[in-house]
């Protein structure tokens, strides 16, 4: 069943959800699940872990709904909960992995390196693009990913990661510049080889 967004504000939805309105829960979850999942995936590096974090975040939000100040915007509060839960889960997982190593009871999977940016890979030499993305700082990569690849706005990404809009803008600008340099280098190399 698809839940239609009924246009109520976040605060109204939250209050209704806290009062047991299941439709309000559905609308609120639908409104934020995409951004929350993308953020959690960026923080956790694993979709299953990210899904767990997102579900827990919505549960925490609804459990604490009465404490939410309706005069303040909902997204910063919500995304700060997502970030905190992700950080807690990661440190728990790291501790567990360390223990597993110490006791030699299991093999700890290495975390995969960040995959390449698919749209750019289509235009760039794959190896060069992968290197270019790796050369970006984690936050540059994250902001580029959300703004350029996922079409989220600068404002949304700033709230999601808890940083200022100008910082997001700067990260995206630098990421674009770095990738453009790679693109141009590749282009000139191809021209040179053609001659």
């Amino acid at each position: 069943m698809h839940v239609e967004d009924d246009g109520r504000s976040d605060a109204e939805l939250l209050a209704a959800a806290a009062g047991g309105d299941g439709v309000a829960v559905g609308v609120l979850v639908r409104r934020y699940i995409r951004a929350a999942t993308l953020l959690a995936v960026q923080l956790m590096g694993d979709q299953d872990d990210a899904d767990d974090v997102v579900q827990e975040a919505f549960t925490v939000v609804l459990r604490k709904a009465r404490r939410f100040d309706a005069q303040r915007p909902f997204p910063p509060w919500f995304f700060s909960i997502v970030r905190r839960l992700a950080a807690n889960k990661r440190s728990r997982d790291l501790r567990r992995a360390r223990l597993m190593r110490v006791f030699g009871r299991g093999v700890v999977a290495e975390q995969a390196s960040p995959p390449g940016d698919e749209a750019l890979l289509a235009r760039l030499d794959a190896v060069a693009a992968t290197h270019a993305l790796k050369d970006l700082s984690p936050m540059q990569r994250a902001c580029f990913d959300l703004v350029v690849m996922r079409d989220l706005s600068i404002e949304e990404v700033a709230v999601m990661h808890g940083i200022s809009e100008s910082t997001v803008r700067q990260h995206v600008f630098r990421a674009r510049a770095a990738l453009r340099t790679i693109l141009e280098d590749n282009g000139s190399r191809a021209d040179h080889e053609a001659r």
């Binding site: 069943m1 698809h2 839940v3 299941g22 829960v25 559905g26 979850v29 639908r30 699940i33 995409r34 999942t37 993308l38 995936v41 960026q42 923080l43 956790m44 590096g45 979709q47 899904d51 997102v54 579900q55 919505f58 549960t59 609804l62 459990r63 700060s80 970030r83 905190r84 992700a86 950080a87 990661r90 440190s91 975390q111 960040p114 995959p115 390449g116 940016d117 698919e118 993305l133 984690p138 936050m139 990569r141 994250a142 990913d145 959300l146 690849m149 996922r150 990661h161 808890g162």
Partner: protein, 113 residues
């Protein structure tokens, strides 16, 4: 809040279409509502903070029982138990039963106290 997560992973492998998010939202909303409707004791089982609070409450209850005079009953039971488990010989009983240490004479001279 300081964010300790230093890696930022790309999301390129995540499915991103409206149908997918509708389905996910529906599933998450149902799970969240179920979670919120669960009984208090189940929630207690999943919450470390609630466990600590429950342990503290039990400790306070125990202390209040001890200080409210219920303890003599427990002491009576303990005395009966000590009597029942005490050795049968005089020296053993002299060591175990009295409140204060036994007299040297009681230990050296069987039958003497």
């Amino acid at each position: 809040m300081r964010d300790d997560v230093t890696n930022r992973f790309a999301t390129s492998r995540i499915r991103d279409d409206a149908g997918h998010w509708d389905a996910r939202a529906e599933q998450v909303a149902a799970d969240v509502v179920r979670e919120l409707n669960r009984g208090g004791f189940e929630w207690l089982g999943n919450s470390r903070r609630m466990w600590v609070a429950a342990c503290l409450l039990m400790l306070v209850a125990l202390l209040s029982v001890v200080s409210s005079g219920v303890i003599p009953v427990a002491q009576g039971v303990a005395t009966e138990l000590t009597n029942a488990l005490a050795p049968v010989d005089d020296i053993g009983r002299a060591i175990v039963l009295p409140d204060r240490p036994p007299a040297i004479g009681a230990l050296l001279l069987p039958g003497g106290t």
